[in-house]
């Protein structure tokens, strides 16, 4: 073997370990990047020469820089992510809805309904008292203000959800566009032999982000392209990214491919939560609230319209509530203007408060499917509380699953600074040894030259 071969081997060694140190520094630089997968240098000995019957080693070379990733964990995360974001978003949204009702507190609707009936009960004792009549009007005004506030807040929440849904659909389109670009780039880089590890990390990060928004099915083809479908509809590959749009049919919020007429089936992710709360939960709560308020309005009006006012001339056939429509409860403006228009006298005499008693008794009457208004309302509150609690529990359980999977992922793909620093030391020592070898080879060569 020529003496100069030592220079060649040492030179290759220096190059290999300098490259290894570069990879290590890249790892350390991304130690805090949650989407980064650590990279590992795969060394192998260079192919040996056979010369004059001897095998002459050629030192070391870098076979590959691998991205350390467990695809099974990735799949599990993609499957668990939509469940987590679905339940946590549901929890947030139902949490917003439950705060609208301000229960259980003095400002809650239940207390205002009670106060409304109580004010009638107290009026029954002294029906000609203008203070008690004003108290009834005040109680009714508070009740009406709360009902209107709940309905308007529910409507605002629905508008916010609708806007967020649309924004999420736009974000999905943007992610799909980016995914298609990354697919194409990695294919191109790979074809040209350029490193693609960081592009694949970006691709996986995009898929993870997408899976938090909507239920996805992901296939990685032989060219490392991610082929994604959403709710059964093709979404993206290397050549094409589909575009989705928000669609609302019969009050149900969904998403469909632009230009198609077939809403996709949402089963997870934030979009599913937004759609479910918008299309099912809020309308269900609103319907139950409407049933309660409509029953209250009809029952009170039915009794009130048979009574006589305290006005001159005396009137009868007057409704206490003007209407409850489009989420707005309005009191008869004549009553608000002049509480003497409250008609609680059954025989026209000033001191008769029979009808005030009858109205007060509605609080204990089984008006809605065998339940009192308060019972029905408390059942609605219990239902909302249960659904929020259920969403919280699901969210917590799904978070545990995701935490476990993320821990496993970090264990496989995360950067360990200790490990990297150990590698730095190892590569540095090898680099130093290779450099020393060059010095030794140089001295050997010098010795040889001096002999001439």
């Amino acid at each position: 073997m020529a003496l100069t071969k030592i220079f060649d081997i040492s030179n290759r060694t220096l190059t290999a370990y300098r490259r290894a140190l570069e990879v290590t520094s890249h790892n350390i630089a991304n130690a805090a990047n949650p989407y980064y997968s650590r990279q590992r240098v795969i060394f192998e000995s260079d192919i040996s020469d056979l010369n004059r019957g001897f095998v002459w080693g050629n030192g070391v070379k870098i076979r590959d820089v691998q991205r350390v990733r467990d695809f099974l964990i990735d799949m599990q995360i993609r499957a668990a992510n939509p469940k987590l974001y679905d339940s946590s978003k549901q929890s947030t949204l139902i949490g917003q809805v439950e705060t609208i009702f301000s229960e259980p507190s003095d400002l809650g609707l239940s207390n205002l309904i009670s106060q409304f009936f109580t004010s009638f009960q107290e009026l029954s004792v002294t029906p000609n008292s203008s203070a008690l009549r004003t108290s009834v009007v005040n109680a009714a005004t508070n009740l009406s203000a709360k009902v209107n506030s709940i309905n308007s807040s529910l409507a605002t929440t629905k508008t916010d959800i609708r806007n967020e849904f649309k924004s999420d659909v736009d974000q999905i389109n943007s992610i799909l566009q980016e995914l298609q670009t990354v697919n194409a780039q990695q294919f191109d880089f790979n074809y040209k032999g350029a490193p693609i590890n960081d592009l694949l990390d970006k691709r996986d990060a995009l898929i993870e982000e997408l899976s938090s928004l909507v239920n996805v099915t992901v296939t990685i083809d032989s060219n490392n392209n991610a082929v994604v479908s959403i709710g059964g509809a093709f979404a993206v590959d290397r050549l094409y990214a589909a575009k989705f749009e928000m669609v609302e049919t019969n009050g149900k919020l969904s998403m469909q491919l632009e230009g198609s007429n077939a809403p996709i089936v949402l089963s997870g992710g934030e979009l599913n939560a937004l759609s479910d709360v918008y299309s099912n939960k809020i309308p269900e709560y609103q319907q139950k609230l409407d049933e309660i308020i409509n029953q209250l309005v009809n029952s009170v009006n039915e009794i009130h319209s048979t009574g006589f006012t305290l006005t001159n001339p005396q009137q009868t056939g007057i409704n206490f509530f003007e209407a409850y429509s489009n989420g707005s409860l309005t009191i008869n403006p004549d009553i608000v203007r002049d509480p003497n228009n409250i008609a609680v006298s059954s025989d026209g005499t000033e001191g008769n408060g029979d009808l005030a008693n009858s109205i007060a008794e509605l609080n204990n009457a089984e008006l809605l499917n065998g339940s009192t208004l308060i019972d029905s309302y408390s059942s609605l509150m219990s239902n909302i509380g249960n659904e929020k609690s259920l969403a919280d529990n699901f969210s917590e359980a799904n978070q545990l699953v995701i935490d476990q999977l993320q821990t496993q992922k970090l264990s496989v793909s995360g950067v360990s600074v200790d490990e990297e620093m150990t590698n730095v030391l190892k590569f540095q020592r090898t680099y130093e040894a290779a450099a020393k070898l060059i010095t030794v080879a140089d001295e050997l060569l010098q010795t040889l030259i001096n002999m001439v």
Binding site: A31, A32, P34, G95, E98, T99, F101, E103, P104, S110, N111, I113, S114, Q115, F117, T118, Q121, E122, S124, V125, T126, P127, N128, S129, D347, T349, E350, G351, N352, G353, D354, N357, A360, E361, N363, N364, I374, D375, Y377, S378, M381, S382, N383, I384, G385, N386, K388, D392, D403, Q406, T407, L410, S411, G414, V415, S416, V417, D418, E419, M421
Partner: protein, 417 residues
């Protein structure tokens, strides 16, 4: 398993969040004293709290009603006592007048009786909390006053209205003494009608009624069977010549009996068993009461009787007018004043009973309030001592966690190179 710095940081942050979340909940519970801030904190608890709060509101309202009612009953008692005192004064004067030695200056006695009459009328017209104590439910004007010709005292309004208040979810308590009950003439119908009589069978009954001046009239009543358990009731009031005091006959009333018990179900479609009769031109006012009337397979006939000839106002006025004309009171007039005095005493006793009943109910409702508040506390109250200890415990955990994190997290091989 490889352990990376990010894993440790994530795990540390997750645990830190968990501890802080528990601390935030405990702090909020200690500050507000409530366990349930929103329905999802305890859906079942929320439902119970709403019901308890509703019950508390209703119970408080019943207590307010009782407070107001007791105040009204106190005023009623005071008014009745005043009336009774005046009735006794009149009785004393009437007794004095039985002695010939006292019959020299009848005008003086007339003045005294007029004073008593005025006082009784004032009390009868008195109000509390905007309500006439003995005015029923019609507050249009003073219930009792002189007629336009000043010759008699009239019931100016309908004084029969009852004021009832809710004192529990199932109890409606009448709290007023109506003018009809205290001062009015009540003609009671008792006995029984023939349940087996054929349709068209007519049963008649009559009794004497009197106008404000004590003139006698005849109340003629008639019950015609029109269907099973149903009778058509008609009446007329005739003077001594047999002429009706009404220009047009009063409307007939349909009386329906319960087939099983034989008791009255309704009079002219309402559950009230009284009919107010008024012939203003003849100064006749009284109430017919059918409470004691029944239907039976073995009818006992109809008995119609009035509780008094004339009301106390016109009775006293009549006595006073007579005295000024030199006419001494008759024993019947004295008996009528005595009867009125007894009636007032009996009414006072009834008012006392209602007051006692409401006072007992008030105590019971106060206890119920305490029980409900206890239930509310059980559902929503915070065990502050436990919460503080838990909070302290979590604080230790937080400090320990921070201490450990400050020792371990920054350390790596780099620190030793």
């Amino acid at each position: 398993m490889r352990i990376t710095e990010t894993m440790m940081q994530t795990s540390y942050l997750s645990n830190l969040n968990s501890v802080k979340e528990k601390m935030a909940i405990l702090q909020k519970q200690i500050v507000t004293g409530k366990k349930i801030e929103k329905p999802s904190d305890s859906p079942v608890g929320t439902s119970r709290l709403i019901r308890i709060s509703d019950q508390l509101g209703q119970t408080q309202s019943y207590l307010n009603n009782i407070d107001n009612s007791l105040s009204f009953l106190d005023e009623t008692t005071f008014a009745l006592q005043t009336i009774q005192t005046e009735a006794l004064t009149v009785l004393g004067k009437l007794t004095d007048l039985e002695n010939p030695l006292n019959q020299t200056d009848l005008n003086l006695y007339a003045d005294t009786i007029d004073n008593s009459l005025k006082l009784i009328m004032d009390v009868a017209n008195s109000q509390t909390d905007g309500k006439y104590i003995f005015g029923g439910t019609d507050f249009a004007e003073n219930p009792y006053g002189y007629s336009n010709d000043n010759l008699s005292i009239d019931f100016k309004t309908d004084v029969s209205g009852e004021i009832s208040v809710k004192t529990s979810s199932t109890t409606l308590q009448k709290i007023n003494v109506t003018g009809t009950e205290l001062f009015g003439t009540i003609v009671s119908m008792s006995g029984s009608l023939d349940e087996l009589a054929v349709n068209g069978t007519i049963t008649n009954a009559s009794t004497s009624v009197y106008d404000s001046f004590g003139n006698q009239f005849t109340l003629e009543t008639s019950y015609e069977k029109t269907a099973d358990n149903t009778f058509q009731f008609t009446y007329d009031i005739k003077d001594s010549n047999g002429d009706s005091v009404f220009t047009t006959p009063p409307a007939s009333q349909e009386i329906i009996f319960d087939q099983t018990t034989g008791r009255i179900v309704s009079v002219n479609g309402t559950s009230s068993t009284t009919i107010s009769v008024s012939a203003p031109d003849s100064n006749i006012n009284f109430t017919m009461n059918f409470d004691a009337l029944k239907e039976s397979e073995t009818p006992a006939g109809i008995v119609t009787s009035a509780n008094q000839q004339t009301d106390i106002f016109n009775l006293l006025k009549g006595i006073s007018d007579n005295l000024r004309n030199g006419i001494l009171p008759t024993p019947e007039q004295k008996d009528a004043v005595e009867a009125f005095n007894s009636h007032v005493l009996s009414t006072l006793s009834n008012v006392g009973n209602v007051t006692n009943q409401l006072t007992s109910l008030q105590s019971m409702l106060n206890q119920q309030m305490l029980d409900l508040q206890q239930s509310e506390q059980n559902v929503n109250g915070v065990d502050v001592e436990k919460a503080i200890i838990d909070l302290q415990n979590q604080d230790y955990m937080l400090q320990l966690s921070n201490q450990l994190a400050s020792m371990i997290l920054p350390m790596s091989l780099m620190d030793y190179l």
